[in-house]
């Protein structure tokens, strides 16, 4: 059965979900989604609301039928099994605790079926309660605790179970930022210590970056990129991922590519030209750029350099956030945002010079949005 390589824990093979609401056109919530994750891996499904991440999760859990495609978990086809037989645990975003039971009983509930000794159940409940900082509400009823506490109880109820796969649906959406940051570290440690295989659904990049080994970025039901957090940032596969990942978002400028004897040039709007020596880009990258003619340039706000000799930009807004300045300026007919980790003395109306180093440039195809060049290299 196996050929020596480790079997993926979960495989989605060309999974589709089409909703057909009555009297309305059908909605393609998930389109041809293929994805394989390893045992012990944490994968985040990241995207804005309506991108198909929750539909994907619900298909894996078995709450929504798969319109087409297949799902394999731990060597079994599960997409036609009822949820009870999929051997999957799930933490819910909203109110999912059983009202007549205390928080302790809600968490312990999943273990009761396994006939563990009472001491063992108590020990494990104590452990996750400590992990999630809800020891003080264990004896309370769900209706008498806060939304954030309910959410953590739901998370605890999922984490305490032994399952082939743990699904976490926006598990920390209702928590305070400080608590969220604290719990992220603890939860990741807990998951890694036990080798759990986890899918996390979130719209929060920070959460995805902090928790996940790999992130699947989704938009309009289509998987845009599935990669490690650093690689998503450094080598976005397309314009969508490029602008979606990172805060503030990547600056985007349309440009015509031209070549002269000395330089490779990007002609932007309003007669602004960026020129780079031929050696700034590798040969394959140069060739790819010239083939296109017209492209989209992407530059992250942190990478924009302020240089008196650079191309002129007019400051519109300068915001000091306490630890960094966000400067928005009109540049080549678009808005360009830069981030400086110091307080910069600029007022609206000032003209500044900006420059982009070739290693910080991302270039995308203007039609398909596919990445052509990252830094000096071809994508």
């Amino acid at each position: 059965m196996t050929d020596g390589r480790p079997q993926p824990a979960l495989t989605l093979d060309r999974v589709n979900k089409i909703y057909r609401p009555k009297g309305k056109p059908p909605v393609r919530a998930v389109v041809e989604l293929s994805l394989a994750m390893n045992r012990g891996e944490i994968v985040a499904l990241l995207g804005s609301s309506g991108c198909g991440k929750t539909s994907t999760l619900r298909m894996i859990a078995g709450f929504e039928p798969v319109t087409a495609g297949s799902i394999r978990l731990a060597g079994r086809d599960i997409h036609q099994l009822p949820p009870a037989r999929r051997h999957v645990a799930m933490a819910f975003e909203g109110y999912s605790l059983y009202p007549p039971l205390t928080v302790r009983d809600n968490i312990a509930f999943a273990l009761k079926a396994k006939r563990l000794a009472r001491d063992e159940v108590a020990r494990r409940v104590q452990e996750v309660a400590h992990l999630l900082d809800i020891e003080d509400v264990l004896e309370r009823y769900p209706s008498s605790i806060s939304g954030g506490q309910q959410q953590r109880a739901s998370l605890g109820r999922a984490l305490i179970r032994e399952a082939d796969l743990h699904l976490l649906d926006e598990p920390m959406g209702q928590l305070e930022p400080q608590l969220r940051a604290l719990l992220r570290g603890r939860i990741k440690h807990f998951i890694k210590e036990r080798g759990l295989t986890v899918i996390l659904v979130t719209h929060d990049q920070t959460e995805a970056n902090a928790l996940a080994d790999r992130i699947a970025v989704m938009e309009n039901g289509v998987l845009q990129q599935f990669a490690e957090p650093a690689s998503l940032r450094q080598r976005p596969a397309n314009l969508f991922t490029g602008t979606f990942i990172g805060e503030p978002p990547m600056n985007v400028l349309e440009a015509d590519v031209a070549v002269t004897e000395r330089e490779l040039r990007f002609h932007l709007a309003d007669g602004v030209t960026l020129g780079y020596p031929h050696t700034a880009f590798e040969q394959a990258a140069c060739a790819a750029l010239l083939r296109r003619g017209r492209v989209v340039l992407g530059i992250r706000p942190h990478a924009v350099r302020l240089a008196p000799t650079g191309a002129p930009a007019r400051v519109e807004v300068n915001q000091w956030l306490g630890d960094q300045s966000h400067v928005a300026a009109t540049f080549a007919g678009s808005m360009l945002v830069t981030v400086e980790h110091r307080r910069v003395p600029m007022a609206p109306g000032d003209v500044i010079g900006v420059a982009f180093a070739p290693e910080d440039l991302h270039v995308f195809d203007i039609d398909s949005g596919a990445a052509i060049v990252h830094g000096r290299r071809a994508a």
């Binding site: 709450f63 949820p83 009870a84 999929r86 799930m90 109110y95 999912s96 509930f109 739901s154």
Partner: protein, 285 residues
Amino acid sequence: MEHESRLERWLRGIALALVVTFFMFPIVWIVLMSFQTNETILRMPPSLLFTPTLSNYEALITGRLVSNAGVLEIEFMSNLMNSAILSVGSVTIALLLGVPAAYAFARHQFRGSEDIAFTLLSFRFAPPLLVLLPLTLYFQELGLADTYVGLIWVYQLICLPLILWIVRGYFEDISPDVEYAYRISGHSWWATFRDIALPLARPGIAAAGLLAFIFAWNNFIFALVLASADKQPVTVGALAFVTASGIQYGQIAAAIVLSIAPTLALALYAQRYLVEGLSLGAVKG
């Protein structure tokens, strides 16, 4: 509310007293009548002072009414029994059918689900007579006329929509995630329905059942048309006191008191459920 003046409290008290008097007066009057003989009831002007008598109740319970015109046999106790059989039977069947149906309507959108649910509700719009005439003919053909089964079946027109719609609202109020969480931890949908949905919807089910019981108990027209003397409930049976020799007001009053007693007792007992159940989504656990 905390800062209401003495005048406001007085006005509120008076308003409440008026409302209570308005609604309670007929019932109190009937109760008083049930302890009087026909002579004291009919005297002019009426008076609140009389020597109470239990003769009306005695006649109803023994089934023999001795009057100037002779001895009249009264079927009241068997009518009361019929009412109980019909109401309990109808509500039981309506609960068995309606609660799972309500769950299905609340949890699953299937082709035509809204249409079916609305059709069931629409049974309550039609005047009963509209249904009764054709039904009488069919029932005679089928041998269902004048049977408990036939009557209970027709009573579903009253009970089923009520239970379906009230209980459906209750199921819809339960967060589906509560059920999903139970299912994913290894339970079938049936176990989830039994262990999670049913207990959580219990107040709604109780309220709907109670209301259905009261409506079934108070029904007059179905039984009047479809049942003969030995299957008639109290609502129809009370007509027997309108006799050739006069109207037996005392016995009618006693019969009314006896026949509203069970529903009244039930309603008082389950008042909390009723209020909760009828305010539907407004009250959450």
